[in-house]
């Protein structure tokens, strides 16, 4: 076993070193699908964070009870319960957001970030550590969605959180709020992430 990281490092690794979107390339489906507006990206990030944090707490607290043969099934049931709660909650209290996110809220169930964290982390670490890990991953995911959706909303509609930021001279690039724009933006951002990573690595070595 590698030496235990400090709790701070455990949190921070989700922001960059093991960022779910930019470094692990997990959760691509919501990343591409719902980042056409900042509010949607943020809501998706929060919903995913809610599910991830609670699932990690539950899984890490009952990890000793779960026989390893049925662990995936157990994780999925736990995750699916929290997803359904999030889905109902959004539909009840934030109907416009629920409508905008459409089928992607129920699809959080199959978001690899969540299952991945249970399998790779919560099932092997203490409750406290799992909580910190889940918080870090959630923050990293929310940040990634915010970056992506900010770029796409700004260029695709000239707005930020629906406020007109760019003047009337700006002609919105509609492609940016279409699926093609999601792929282009993500591709460019991933390229930049790798560039930054290699730059910092060569400097430190």
């Amino acid at each position: 076993m590698p030496p235990k990281k400090s709790l701070g490092a455990e949190y921070l690794k989700g922001l960059w070193d093991e960022n779910p979107v930019f470094r692990q390339l997990l959760g691509m489906c919501p990343t591409l699908a719902v980042t056409n507006a900042v509010i949607n990206g943020f809501a998706m990030g929060l919903a995913t964070a809610f599910v991830l944090i609670l699932s990690s707490l539950v899984v890490s607290s009952i990890k000793k009870l779960i026989p390893s043969q049925v662990r995936i099934a157990t994780y999925i049931v736990i995750i699916a319960s929290f997803v359904t709660i999030a889905d109902r909650f959004l539909a009840a209290f934030f109907p416009p957001i629920s409508k905008a996110l459409g089928p992607y809220v129920p699809l959080i169930v199959v978001n690899c970030i969540i299952l991945g964290r249970q399998e790779a982390f919560s099932s092997k670490n203490s409750i406290g550590r799992s909580l910190v890990d889940a918080l870090g991953m959630s923050t990293g995911f929310i940040l990634a969605l915010l970056v992506l959706s900010s770029i796409r909303e700004l260029l695709g509609a000239g707005t930020f959180l629906s406020y007109q930021v760019l003047g009337s001279w700006f002609k919105p690039w509609i492609i940016m709020i279409l699926p093609a724009g999601a792929f282009i933006t993500l591709g460019v951002l991933l390229g930049l992430a790798i560039l930054i990573e290699t730059k910092t690595k060569t400097r430190s070595s």
Binding site: P67, Q69, T74, V77, T84, I85, A92, P95, I174, I177
Partner: protein
């Protein structure tokens, strides 16, 4: 405990706990979600028939729901028709209001659509599309004005405008409205479109 017994117990307990949790959440949110839906329909009805004071569902089948709307003095002022059909990409759900004789469309509103952002999605836009749907004569099926004009005055009373660059989405909305109007007229002929019996019950 043997391994298989443990597996069964753990899965059952996890399933039971999450099942009951979901049942509670479902109960707590059910009314609110239903209320949201009602509210959305109410808002849409008073949007397409502005003088609405009360409204009542008088007809419902797979493809169309009709609400009769009454004004303050309880006179029937028209029907609000809730219907849907295929758009360019996905189902478009809309509502429009007619007068009681089904000869005039007062207004139209789009409730759900997934048309192309910036193009077909302009069917939800007042300026580009919806304002051309006010006060249309619908004794005959409506038709689409191509190429587009830039003011409702330039349209014939039975014409609606096209969105530049999104002819297909405009056409689909028109098709949905025309199809439902035709059905609605047939239903009215058969005398099924009345609120009397429902009022009595």
């Amino acid at each position: 405990m043997s391994l298989s017994a443990r597996m069964i117990v753990v899965l059952t307990v996890v399933g039971l706990v999450s099942g009951s949790l979901l049942a509670v959440v479902g109960l707590l949110t059910k009314d609110r979600i239903e209320m949201n839906r009602q509210q959305e329909i109410q808002t849409a009805i008073s949007q397409v028939i502005p003088s609405t004071k009360t409204s009542q569902k008088i007809y419902e089948d797979d493809s169309l729901t009709v609400y009769e709307s009454r004004n303050e003095s309880k006179n029937a002022v028209g029907y609000a028709v809730y219907t849907s059909g295929t758009g360019f990409q996905d189902i478009i759900t809309l509502m429009y209001g007619t007068d009681p004789s089904l000869s005039n469309i007062k207004d139209l509103t789009i409730l759900e659509q997934k048309e192309t952002p910036g193009l077909g999605a302009k069917i939800t836009d007042q300026e580009a599309f919806l304002r051309y749907w006010k006060n249309r004569n619908c004794e005959q099926p409506l038709s689409l004005r191509k190429p587009a004009v830039d003011s409702p005055e330039n349209l014939d009373p039975s014409e609606v405008n096209t969105i530049t660059g999104a002819t297909i989405s405009s056409e689909k909305v028109l098709d949905i409205v025309n199809a439902s109007l035709e059905r609605l007229k047939a239903i009215k002929e058969q005398g099924k479109l009345s609120s009397e019996e429902k009022n009595a019950s």
